[in-house]
Symmetry: C2
Subunit: 500 residues, 2 copies
């Protein structure tokens, strides 16, 4: 029967936009980093929780800052009941769902940590990923700002535990209520629905201070701003005297926390909400002082507003202040590697009653990049397994037995399982960064011996090997031992490189 040959469809092997694969060295470094963070959060009394990667879209809500893209910045799909599901874009919204669902059964306060990936359907580009990892700690059912102060100190503690020194980072703290006070004073409703858009525009404008400077923020609060590429961003359209009030607030920073509080007090003295915010920061300051956290670790910074709309009180950001040079010698600053704040209204979305809560989230993926740039992950031998070579395909059982003995002794090892000859096997061992290979050809077998080759020692010479014969004559850095002493001998080679 003659069959018509169908053209086969071959999909291109490629990653979805904004996604990446993570390989073993990074996985291992990341895992020790996550364990350090976990230990800190645990020490502070938080409990682990894990929620699924997607939730019903209505439960996640819409709190992302940039929603000018389709799907409003999240990845969404419909289930078979036509209910919309979305991949989580942070770990706070799923926590709010969890707390609302189990409210009566939970201890109050409820303190949980969670780590996991989150996904944002945003523009992807070099270094801009759509999947990244966060590590959050949140306290729920905590009316006082002692909980916010604790999170700032926890963040500081954690960052130092990860090997970032004092002076290389700073926690920047502000309070949304003070900004709300400023808004109130210029006739913008800081709570209601109708001024929401205006409020978000102002928040996002202030949020860009570090990138655009005061002049840029002024433009965004007023008519608008054309950037270097010629792209135009429409402004908030505020009149000049209102812009001045906001800019005065943004510029109220100072080195000492008490000086910032003094500036704030002058700015919002006529606003009840604003003064409430100032009193809260005062209380946080006194807790910082009591615990010995000076301005080398925690400062008050009016320009910290955070882009999310759900914050209702103190907000904070962890910023790395050191620079490293990239491959071209250009300085790179990492900036914010975490942030959070109080969100007393988020759980009310489900419950109808306010449940005061505050949280801090480490941007693990970005912090990892920074720690890597600091050379914090240079530890670990990076050596591969011991390779037992296949000299005679009919003797696989014997070689397998040797591997079994090594593994039994806790030595990472493998039998060469490819189909190639001795030269390819040596190349494979090099590529796997094996310290040592085990060889038993017929000669060695007849003498009841195995040959061990130290690949680190013999590395330079391996390039010259052209065939089995010339290689065996060269025998660089290798020696024979009785087969019964295989394990001890391999161990002694590994020990040369601290890899036992």
């Amino acid at each position: 029967m003659a069959k018509k040959k169908k053209k086969t469809f071959r999909p291109k092997a490629r990653l979805p936009k904004g996604m990446r694969d993570v390989e073993s060295a990074e996985i291992s470094a990341m895992s020790s980093m996550l364990e350090t963070i976990r230990e800190c959060y645990h020490l502070y009394g938080f409990e682990a929780l894990e929620t699924p990667v997607f939730e019903y879209s209505d439960a996640l809500g819409k709190s992302l800052p940039d929603q000018d893209r389709p799907n409003a910045g999240v990845f969404s799909f419909e289930d078979e009941d036509s209910q919309w599901l979305s991949l989580r874009y942070d770990l706070t919204a799923p926590l709010a769902r969890y707390v609302a669902q189990h409210y009566d059964a939970l201890p109050k306060p409820f303190r949980r940590y969670q780590t996991g990936y989150v996904w944002r359907n945003e523009k992807a580009g070099p270094g801009r990923y759509r999947q990244f990892r966060q590590f959050d700690a949140d306290s729920v059912g905590v009316p006082g700002v002692a909980a916010d102060a604790e999170l700032c100190m926890l963040a500081s503690h954690t960052i130092e535990k990860l090997g970032i020194g004092r002076g290389q980072y700073v926690m920047r703290v502000n309070n949304r209520k003070i900004l709300d006070g400023v808004l109130e004073m210029i006739g913008i409703d800081p709570k209601g629905e109708e001024d929401l858009e205006m409020r978000m525009t102002i928040l996002r404008s202030i949020d860009k201070l570090d990138r655009l400077g005061i002049v840029g923020v002024e433009a965004l609060l007023g008519e608008g701003r054309k950037d270097d590429s010629g792209a135009y961003t429409k402004g908030a359209g505020l009149p000049i005297e209102k812009i001045a009030k906001i800019i005065a607030f943004v510029g109220a920073g100072a080195d000492e926390r008490t000086a910032v509080l003094e500036n704030f007090r002058t700015l919002v003295s006529s606003s009840v909400t604003g003064m409430e915010g100032v009193v809260e920061l005062e209380e946080m300051d006194s807790l910082f002082v009591a615990s010995g956290f000076g301005t080398d670790r925690i400062v008050f910074d009016p320009s910290i507003v955070r882009g999310l709309d759900y914050y209702t009180g103190p907000v904070f950001e962890a910023e790395l202040t050191f620079e490293v040079k990239d491959e071209k010698g250009q300085p790179i600053r990492f900036g914010s590697v975490g942030g959070g704040g109080r969100y007393d209204g988020l759980i009310a979305k489900f419950k109808g009653i306010e449940v005061p809560a505050t949280g801090f989230s480490i941007g693990v993926s970005r912090l990892y990049t920074a720690l890597n740039a600091l050379g914090k992950f240079s530890g670990g031998s990076g050596y591969g397994p011991v390779i037992v070579m296949v000299m005679d395909k009919d003797r696989l059982g014997d070689y397998q037995k040797m591997v079994g003995r090594l593994r039994e002794a806790g030595i990472r090892s493998e039998l060469y399982l490819g189909g190639s000859g001795i030269r390819a096997q040596m190349k494979y061992a090099d590529k796997r960064k094996a310290v040592c290979v085990v060889i038993q050809g017929s000669d060695e077998q007849s003498r009841g011996e195995v040959m061990l080759k130290d690949l680190i020692e013999g590395m330079q010479k391996s390039e010259e090997i052209v065939d089995n014969k010339s290689w065996r004559e060269g025998r660089p850095a290798q020696f024979a031992v009785a087969e019964a002493e295989l394990v001890e001998a391999v161990r002694s080679v590994l020990a040369r490189y601290g890899d036992s």
Copy 2:
């Protein structure tokens, strides 16, 4: 200005169908379980890899057994370029994409392990989740069945390391080529496209042997079968003599591996493919024997076929053989907790050239349930943090300082951050399973002391506390120490319960 009150939409706080939250005790047990598996895979020379949770749908392909649901069993969504993305349904398809994408740069063989969740858009129900965790090890670029044998031994090794004893589990091994031989002999093309559906029906029918028995499988191979609920499954429609051949194959099992091989040889002697499969199993048997793996750990079982269509050679399953009783005293068997096999054609989908490969996947979520039922996770104190109580809200700074000292000393502790009085604070400490609370009211402060209360000792009595006064008169299991000795004293209380 009078505003119209809008009715607020309150989403119900609920989990998507088939999803679950995981709480701290399970997270901690799971994490130690994953670490044990990781250590085994690492010992065998596999390297970690992590791929993103979703891939382009065309790269994942369609290999799931039950595709009678919309979305073909996966969760899919469109990106902004109208390309379809799908949450991974296993870890093998993303590996094939990764290998095809980086083929030239990878060591050959390429040996990787990966753990992570996978998602199936299947019917959800009690105990049937749509998100579950797998832990895979795969060898790519391995033409010989020594690689398959290694995975069976690794699986056995790993299961025992997790605390499942010899005799409580068994690895069941078969070879698709032998079944292919049987199909060939009854005139069904074991490779081509046109008999694909028939082949999948046969595979799935055999796969149900343990649930339906021989009679049920016969019915599914023939006319069809009505189950207890009255639902009818259409059969393969094979004539009786062909069914007999398949049933003879399925029934070719025996206790000894050599006896099964003998039966197979008789059944497929006239098929080249079939005999190739028998020779492969013989080779695996000799490797098992060389490494001391008897039939108490690895058996040959013709009924193991695996539901996925991409397997091309040896297939294997890890089965738990012990029973536990559920709450009603009914016996539960856990059955298969992992499986895998050779899939020489999967990477060819991208590359056009065959890259021989084999893998094994542990169904971690199911195995966890089994280990839990065996009581393997009863370790760990389960105690909560030390709670420093708030007796006087104006002295938060002092209490915060005490917590700081405890944490400094590595003692897990927290300041009570809720807004409630002393009774609620005690209830909170109980609920958190705190071993010890730290109390400093004005009396203790005036004496430069703190009061420690041992909650384990005092647990029964805590129910009787009605107010601050009566509780302070009762003082169960509590004692005062100088504030300077706080850390040592707390440590001594924790040490009473092995929780230091």
